[in-house]
C-alpha cells in the first residue's frame, strides 16, 4: 500500500485542476475490466467510440434543458435514465444513435444510467453534475460487483432469484485501491486552503458509506436525503442510486484516506486493503 501512496505522491505532486467538459455525446462501449484475479465484461458510457474503463462524467448548467446524443455500440438495446428526472427512459437500439432533450435540472449531482438488466449489471452508470462552478471539481462513481453475475449476464444467462449477492469488488470510477491515486477525476490533490466540490453517485447494488479522514465536508445536494443539505459531516451514507454533492475546504496539509466504512468494501476479492479507498493529498 505504501508504495502505491508514494506513486500517487510523485504523479500528483502538482496540483491538478480537474475540469470535466460539457459532453453532449455519449458512446455505449463494451469492453473488459481487469481486477485482481478476474476479468469482467462490462459496458461503459464513454466520450468517444474508444472504450475506456470509467464512465464519463457529464457536466451541464442548472435549470437549462439540453440535447444529448447517445450512440449504442453494444449488441443490445439500452434505456437511458436519470434518477428522479427521466424515469420514462429513452431506448437506444443496437448500433443506433438517438438524440433527445434532457429536462432542466436543479443544481446537484445525479446518476445517469441504463436501466435495462444488461446495462445495470455490467456497469453502465455515470455521474451527472449540474450547475457546479468551482474550478476544483472531483467525482466518485461508486460501484460494487460480483464477477459471477456479470459473467452470467454478459453471456446471455439469467440471474437466479435465490442466488445471494456477494460482491467481491468495490470501486470508485472503476478504480480500486491501490490504483485509485491514478484516477485524475477521483484523487483529490489540492493546495492548502483550496475549496472543491466532490460529486458522488452510488451506482452499485448496495448502500455505501464513505468516511473522510482529516476533514469534514458540507452537503450541497442530495437526491435522496435533501434534508441533509447544509449538514457538515465526516461520514457520508449513499443509498443505492443516490447522488450527493459535497463541499470540501482543505484546511490542513497532508495525505488523508477516504474510504468505505462498511469495511468489507475496502477489499479486492477479499484482500485488504483495496476497494473503495482513495486519498486526499493537500500540498502546503
Amino acid at each position: 500500500m505504501k508504495n502505491y501512496i508514494h506513486l500517487g505522491l510523485i504523479i500528483f505532486s502538482i496540483n491538478l485542476s480537474v475540469n470535466v467538459s460539457s459532453q453532449d455525446t455519449l458512446w455505449i462501449n463494451p469492453g473488459l475490466w481487469n481486477q485482481s484475479v478476474d476479468t469482467m465484461s462490462v459496458l461503459r458510457f464513454n466520450e468517444t467510440e474508444v472504450y475506456d474503463t470509467s464512465n464519463v462524467a457529464l457536466s451541464v448548467y442548472e435549470d437549462v434543458s439540453w440535447l444529448l446524443t447517445v450512440i449504442n455500440n453494444d449488441s443490445e438495446p439500452h434505456n437511458f435514465e436519470i434518477d428522479g428526472f427521466m424515469s420514462f427512459g429513452v431506448e437506444i437500439l443496437p448500433s443506433d444513435t438517438t438524440t433527445f432533450e434532457v429536462p432542466p435540472l436543479p443544481m446537484g449531482t445525479y446518476r445517469y444510467y441504463s436501466s435495462d438488466q444488461k446495462g445495470v449489471y455490467l456497469g453502465l452508470s455515470g455521474v451527472l453534475k449540474v450547475g457546479l462552478n468551482l474550478p476544483n471539481q472531483f467525482h466518485w462513481n461508486l460501484s460494487d460487483c460480483m464477477p459471477e453475475r456479470m459473467d452470467s449476464i454478459s453471456s446471455g444467462g439469467e440471474l437466479l432469484d435465490d442466488e445471494p449477492y456477494v460482491p467481491r469488488y468495490f470501486s470508485i470510477n472503476s478504480y480500486t485501491f491501490p490504483h485509485t491515486p491514478l484516477d485524475v477525476n477521483g484523487y483529490v490533490a489540492l493546495n492548502l486552503g483550496d475549496t472543491c466540490t466532490i460529486s458522488i453517485v452510488n451506482s452499485g447494488f448496495m448502500d455505501h458509506v464513505l468516511h473522510f479522514h482529516g476533514f469534514h465536508v458540507e452537503y450541497l445536494s442530495s437526491t435522496m436525503q435533501a434534508s441533509r443539505v447544509g449538514w457538515i459531516k465526516d461520514t457520508i451514507p449513499l443509498q443505492r442510486g443516490e447522488g450527493v454533492t459535497l463541499l470540501l475546504i482543505v484546511n490542513q496539509e497532508g495525505i488523508y484516506p477516504v474510504h468505505n466504512h462498511n469495511l468489507i468494501a475496502v477489499t479486492n476479492s477479499g484482500f485488504y486493503p483495496g476497494g473503495m479507498l482513495t486519498l486526499i493529498n493537500v500540498a502546503p
Binding site: 500500500m1 505504501k2 468516511h211 482529516g214 465526516d234 490542513q252 469495511l263 468489507i264 477479499g270
Partner: protein, 405 residues
C-alpha cells in the same frame, strides 16, 4: 416529584465511569493498552474471542474499549502501549487530527509489539466521536478494537449556543461474525464477513435487559434525569450493518448533532438510520412513569434485509424494576477490583454461590471451591498478576465476573 429515568445499559461504560475523573483532565490523560486475548461472553453464554483496548497492562480489555472523555479545547496526548503480538494503531475517527496523528499505518505510524505510541490533538469541536485500530481494519474492527469518544462543551450544553442537558448515555452499536472471531487467522477472505452477533455497548439480548448475564460482573448503569431535563443519547456505529434506532415518541427525541457538528435544523428522531462510522447526538425528555424500550435494529448492508433487534430499556426508576418480565438474576459483584490479596464475592440477587471456579485467561481452572452463602472472601495473594474470570454455578445458571489481580 423528582422524576428519575433509568436506562438499563451495559457495564462497559460503568467500568469506565471509574476512570472518568482521570480522563476528564488532559493533564492526566489515560493510557490505553491493547490485548488480543479478550473474551466476550455472549447472550447465550458463548465465549467469543476478542481483541481490543483496555486501561491495564495485563491484557484485560473490553468491547467496546474504554470511553474517552474530553472537554472542548483540551490539548490531548493519548498514550498507547501495545503489548499484544500484532501491530495496532488508534484512529481518532471524526476528530480531524493531522496526518501524523491519524492512526493510519502508512501515512501516520504503526505501533508494533512492545512499543508505545502517542497521539496529540486538540479536541476543538464538541460532539460524539469514535476511535479504532486502523491496521487490517476489516479484521481488527470485527475483533473488537474500537471505542467511543465524547467531547463535552463547558456549561452543560451540547455545543456553544446549543441546548442544555443533564447527562450522557453513550450507545455504541457494533457487531461481529462469530466464525471470524473464533478463528481470525483463517478468516480470509474479508469481503464476505456477515455479522451474526449484534451489540449495544458490547452487550446483546437479555444482557441489555438486566445488564447482567455473563458479562464481567458489572450491573446495568442507572442514569438519573430530573424532571424537565434531557438525556443526551450519544449514538455511534462501529458495525458492519446499518443500525436503525427506533425511539418511542413519548421520549420526544430530537437530533441536534451528527458527526461532531450541530445540524442546521434539529429534527424529531423517532427513527434514525446510522451507517457504519456515523454518529448522532439525540436528546430525549422522558415523561414521568415512562417505561418502554428503544429498539435497535440491524440491517444487512448488502441486501437491505432486516436481521436482528436489540432493545434498550428506558424507564422511570421509581417504578418497581423487579416487575420486568423474564428478568434474570443479577450476576456476581467483586470488590475490591483490582486487588492484590483478597476479594469479596457477592451474588447480587442474594442466591447462594454454590460451586465456583477461577479461570485464567487461557481457560485453565486455578482455584475452585464451594460456598453455601450469597457472599464469600477469597485469598488471591498467590495468583500471578493478571485478569481472571470467576464463575459460579447455581442450578442451571452460570454467573461470571472478571477481576484483576
Amino acid at each position: 416529584m423528582r422524576l428519575i429515568i433509568t436506562i438499563l445499559l451495559v457495564g462497559v461504560f460503568v467500568c469506565v465511569n471509574s476512570h472518568i475523573s482521570q480522563a476528564q483532565h488532559s493533564s492526566t490523560p489515560p493510557i490505553l493498552f491493547t490485548g488480543m486475548e479478550g473474551i466476550l461472553i455472549s447472550d447465550n453464554g458463548m465465549e467469543i474471542p476478542t481483541w481490543g483496548y483496555g486501561y491495564t497492562a495485563d491484557g484485560f480489555i473490553t468491547v467496546p474499549g474504554p470511553l474517552l472523555e474530553y472537554v472542548t479545547g483540551d490539548e490531548v496526548n493519548l498514550a498507547f502501549v501495545n503489548n499484544s503480538p500484532e501491530s495496532h494503531t488508534i484512529h481518532l475517527h471524526g476528530l480531524d487530527v493531522d496526518q501524523a496523528n491519524d492512526g493510519v499505518p502508512t501515512t501516520s505510524f504503526l505501533v508494533v509489539q512492545g512499543e508505545t505510541g502517542s497521539y496529540s490533538f486538540t479536541s476543538s469541536e464538541p460532539g460524539t466521536f469514535l476511535y479504532h485500530c486502523h491496521v487490517t481494519t476489516t479484521l481488527h474492527l470485527t475483533m473488537g478494537m474500537y471505542g467511543m469518544i465524547i467531547v463535552r462543551h463547558p456549561g452543560g450544553v451540547l455545543f456553544e449556543g446549543g441546548p442544555s442537558y443533564y447527562t450522557d448515555a453513550p450507545l455504541l452499536f457494533s457487531d461481529l461474525e462469530i466464525a471470524t472471531n473464533l478463528d481470525p487467522v483463517q478468516s480470509f477472505p474479508f469481503h464476505d464477513i456477515r455479522p451474526d452477533y449484534f451489540m449495544v455497548n458490547g452487550r446483546s439480548g437479555t444482557q441489555l435487559e438486566t445488564g447482567s448475564t455473563g458479562i464481567p460482573g458489572e450491573p446495568g448503569t442507572i442514569i438519573s434525569c430530573p424532571n424537565g431535563e434531557s438525556i443526551a443519547l450519544r449514538l455511534g456505529s462501529m458495525a458492519y450493518t446499518l443500525t436503525r434506532v427506533i425511539i418511542p415518541t413519548e421520549l420526544e427525541a430530537m437530533c441536534w448533532m451528527s458527526d461532531g457538528r450541530p445540524v442546521p435544523t434539529p429534527f424529531a428522531a423517532n427513527t434514525l438510520d446510522i451507517f457504519p462510522g456515523e454518529r448522532f447526538t439525540v436528546l430525549i425528555s422522558p415523561d414521568s412513569e415512562f417505561d418502554g424500550t428503544i429498539e435497535v435494529q440491524s440491517w444487512d448492508m448488502v441486501n437491505r434485509e432486516y436481521i436482528h433487534s436489540n432493545y434498550i430499556r428506558v424507564r422511570d426508576a421509581s417504578l418497581d424494576i423487579d416487575n420486568s418480565q423474564n428478568q434474570k438474576p443479577l450476576s456476581l459483584s467483586i470488590s475490591p477490583n483490582p486487588s492484590s490479596d483478597y476479594i469479596t464475592v457477592k451474588s447480587t440477587d442474594g442466591s447462594y454461590i454454590n460451586d465456583w471456579s477461577i479461570y485464567n485467561t487461557s481457560g485453565k481452572i486455578i482455584i475452585n471451591g464451594h460456598s453455601d452463602s450469597p457472599s464469600m472472601r477469597i485469598d488471591i495473594s498467590l495468583l500471578e498478576s493478571g485478569s481472571y474470570i470467576l464463575e459460579s454455578r447455581n442450578g442451571d445458571l452460570n454467573y461470571r465476573a472478571r477481576f484483576i489481580r
